[in-house]
């Protein structure tokens, strides 16, 4: 028996958990087969209806941001979910407020956790994909911790661009011509910086010829190896 529903877990504070699933096309099509499609307008908060069964969303297009909020109102975007990623909505312990909001118009498949569990039991490969994805997500989260803990502003922005570049490549989109639908403020929030600092980092990368910025939401990576060097923690750029 495969179960997606978290068992009682004292450490588990979140009412929603998004994960960058990398399930693969086969798994996604499997889930799509038993789910109803859903269109979520930009800026809509994705809330679970009271009494509705716990459910999972699999994104087909668009971007969802997942935020945590502290008691005093400070909040942070902890993840951006894109095509192929999964959002699981379940009961939390009420300690932390977790919100998911559509950053763009979103197409998604919605499936109840009960149905998803049943499908996983019938399809071992799916169960394996899911668990593998969740384990990998812990690795990704550790890299995010590393980024916030050890990287400086321009390194964080470089890491962010590379992460999006790789995720784009994985779903077949061009690796070096990115569309970043979120605002500078949202990027800053995710990277734990201010819009001003993110903007300065972009300007610096542009001045160095590493990226081009035809429009604020379009990024063209010109020198991916230098971007990787910066993201990985090489010497940081100076303005001169």
């Amino acid at each position: 028996m495969f179960r997606v529903t978290p068992a009682t877990c004292a450490g588990c504070a979140a009412g929603k958990i998004g994960f960058c699933a990398n399930l693969g096309d086969t798994a996604i099509e499997l889930i799509a087969g038993i789910s109803r499609t859903l269109r979520i307008g930009k800026s809509r908060i994705i809330a679970r209806e009271e009494q509705a069964p716990m459910s999972a969303l699999v994104l087909r297009s668009g971007v969802i941001k997942v935020s945590h909020t502290l008691f005093d109102g400070r909040q942070q975007i902890v993840d951006f979910l894109t095509t192929g990623d999964v959002l699981i909505q379940h009961e939390g312990n009420g300690k932390v407020s977790v919100t998911a909001e559509a950053t763009t118009d979103v197409d998604a498949c919605e499936v109840s956790l009960a149905d998803l569990e049943a499908l996983c039991n019938d399809t071992p490969e799916l169960a394996q994909s899911m668990l593998g994805a969740v384990l990998c997500e812990i690795g990704r989260k550790n890299q995010q911790v590393m980024m916030l803990g050890r990287k400086r502003a321009d390194e964080r922005v470089a890491s962010f661009l590379l992460d999006f570049s790789e995720r784009a490549a994985r779903r077949g989109a061009p690796r070096e011509r990115l569309n970043l639908p979120m605002s500078r403020a949202e990027i800053a929030d995710y990277l734990s910086l201010t819009t001003e600092t993110v903007s300065r980092a972009f300007s610096l990368l542009r001045a160095e010829g590493i990226v081009r910025l035809p429009k604020p939401h379009q990024v063209e990576i010109c020198d991916i190896s230098r971007l990787q060097e910066i993201a990985g923690g090489g010497a940081h750029l100076s303005v001169r």
Copy 2:
């Protein structure tokens, strides 16, 4: 078929993944039944032998720290694992170097991933516990992200103490009389601060009568509600 082995995952960079499992005594005893016990001396690096099967460790006592390292040598402790937690050792993609080191002498159960998977297939409750634990771990990681991204030095230290307090309580140890076996330097590393800043935060908490510090590695929480207030993001302490 339940599989612990992550499938191919482009986003998965880690060669080791530790998670604060909260599996519960029943699950731990189940695993202990099929595993060999292991004693790991303080400061020993936990490395997978070449050619040895991929394995998981379940801690029975002691503390293991899990660190990530960037190309330029900067590193960070991303987790401390204590009694009941699980360390999964598997192949990474080589992008990030992940190390696990015993911070104290450690007693652990070691089981190959193959055996663990077999046991999970025979025991659905275990499979459920494992997956629930991994999902919850993502929630914990998001809180860690929040801590690094939004909390100030004294708030981070307060959060750290509360986290250890809750984990101690969960395994039956006293909630308000903590033994912190790791050094100030290790705490600072995990919280992305310096030893000096951690030390100042401890001194501040002591001056406010919130904790007592009979010995550097012993912390007595005197006013847990104020500690929670600080950790959750209340007004920060001033020296006056």
